[in-house]
Amino acid sequence: MMRALRLLAVAVAVIALTIVSGCSSVPADPHGTLDRVRGGVLRVGATHHPPWVEAAGISPPGGDEVDIVTAFANDNDADLEWEVGSEQSLVEALERGDLDLVIGGFTDATPWTERAATTVPYTEATGPDGSVEKHVMLTRMGENRFLVALETFLMDRGRAG
């Protein structure tokens, strides 16, 4: 029972510390992505998937998601650096930390969830088989501060219409 109480005390202490240290710094990025992006460079991987991303023969790429990411970068005073490639090569670059964000018409049913963090769905569209598809973007695993900033931006944008 003593051990149990001690564990509970630790839990309470950690929560208290988290709250005291200020909601503004929670969650944090283990690799500091958001701090680096703000006023710096946002490195985005894009894979061709019209109308979300048009990357065939166009540089820099265009499309709905490119517009959204550009607006997000402007919001954060960040310059954009694009890398165009296949989903796998981009997800691998994301895992290595060479990219911060990957777009390409991904839905919440993407098979990459084990290797990349998906944002909340920011819009819905009708897929080729007539079913509703919820669109998401991919960010680096565990960079939760960056993920929260991006999701908050997407949600605010959705509410604004």
Binding site: L8, A11, L17, P30, V120, G142, E151
Partner: protein, 333 residues
């Protein structure tokens, strides 16, 4: 005609009351778990610890269900098909509960361990409730923190009732409640750790806690199996041989017509079945009246001793402390 109450053991008032309270407690546990399972499912997202806590809540349904089924079954009187009654249902229930505990510990260790080895950085994004967008970690910590206090209360109450009732399913379930609140506390610590940027906090907290759960699982599993194998009866927590065995033997040895006595006692669930071997003084067979009285005296010793068979022998068998065993082991050794 002596009325012999085989079958549904008549519980003394204290135990009857304990049984009633235990049943109420288990129904309350089930209701609580149903709520917790729903709430955690709604907020679990991608957190390893949250998913594990959820799987664990599902597994913790097993012991209360096993208990409620078992106490229902043991009430049935012995029949031609089940001449010993259905007391062993408690033993089976204990096995089910122990297996649930063991698989939970093993699952947790594997889950958290592989997460640590692969250096998984759990992503936790935002959640939008009533138009407000906030970090989902807050909701997770709140829900998990809310599931901590009740299992602590449940566990402590069950532990007391388990002793009164000599019910090992309840005992295993008390351990399960301990596992429940410890994993919930671990998830809170883990999510808070992720919040401040420690990606490994989640898995490390789960790993730390899983060791203790696995140990409880192993302990209960061993006890459940040995009880089903008719090992000698032990106390409800399997810490010691049950004192009632020695008291039974002492009672018989104290009778005027008895030279020596030894008993083998097995745990049928709440109650014990005992075979008492008695060597009568000067090899004389006692009267039927004396035998019937001896049997009644044995069963009056403790409510758990509810089925005592007395066997007259010329020498005690080895396994109940007879000399025959010593000679044999000397010959072998």
């Amino acid at each position: 005609m002596t009325s012999i109450s085989f079958g549904s053991a008549e519980l003394p008032p204290e135990q009857l009351e304990a049984l009633r309270r235990a049943k109420r407690l288990e129904w309350a546990t089930l209701a609580f778990l149903a709520g917790a399972i729903t709430a955690v499912f709604l907020v679990m997202g991608n957190s390893q610890a949250m998913r594990t806590a959820w799987a664990e809540d599902l597994l913790s349904l097993a012991p209360p269900i096993a208990f409620l089924v078992a106490v229902r079954l043991v009430r049935k009187p012995p029949s031609e098909r089940y001449p010993y009654g259905l007391h062993r249902a408690v033993g089976v229930g204990h096995l089910v509960a122990a297996l649930a505990l063991l698989s939970m510990g093993a699952f947790l260790i594997f889950d958290a361990g592989s997460g640590l080895v692969r250096a998984e950085h759990p992503p936790i994004g935002t959640m939008t409730l009533f138009g407000v967008t906030f970090w989902a970690g807050w909701a997770m910590m709140l829900v998990m923190a809310l599931t901590i206090p009740l299992p602590i209360v449940f566990g402590r109450k069950k532990m007391r009732l388990a002793e009164q009732l000599h019910d090992k399913v309840l005992y295993a379930d008390a351990d399960m409640n301990k596992a429940d609140w410890m994993t919930a506390a671990g998830a809170v610590v883990g999510v808070a750790g992720i919040g401040v940027g420690l990606w490994w906090a989640d898995a490390a907290a789960a790993l730390f806690i899983s060791a203790s759960i696995l140990w409880d699982g192993v302990k209960n599993m061993r006890a459940a199996i040995t009880d089903l194998m008719d090992s000698r009866a032990t106390t409800f927590d399997d810490a010691h041989p049950h004192p009632v065995v020695a008291r039974l033997e002492a009672l018989l040895r104290g009778m005027s017509w008895v030279d020596d006595a030894g008993a083998r006692v097995r745990d049928e669930g709440h109650v014990f079945h005992a075979e008492a071997f008695v060597v009568p003084r000067r090899g004389r067979t006692p009267s039927l009246r004396r035998l019937v009285e001896a049997r009644k005296a044995c069963e009056a010793l403790d409510w758990k001793l509810h089925d005592v068979t007395i066997v007259l022998v010329d020498e005690l068998p080895a396994e109940v402390g007879g000399r025959a065993g010593e000679q044999q082991s000397e010959a072998r050794g």
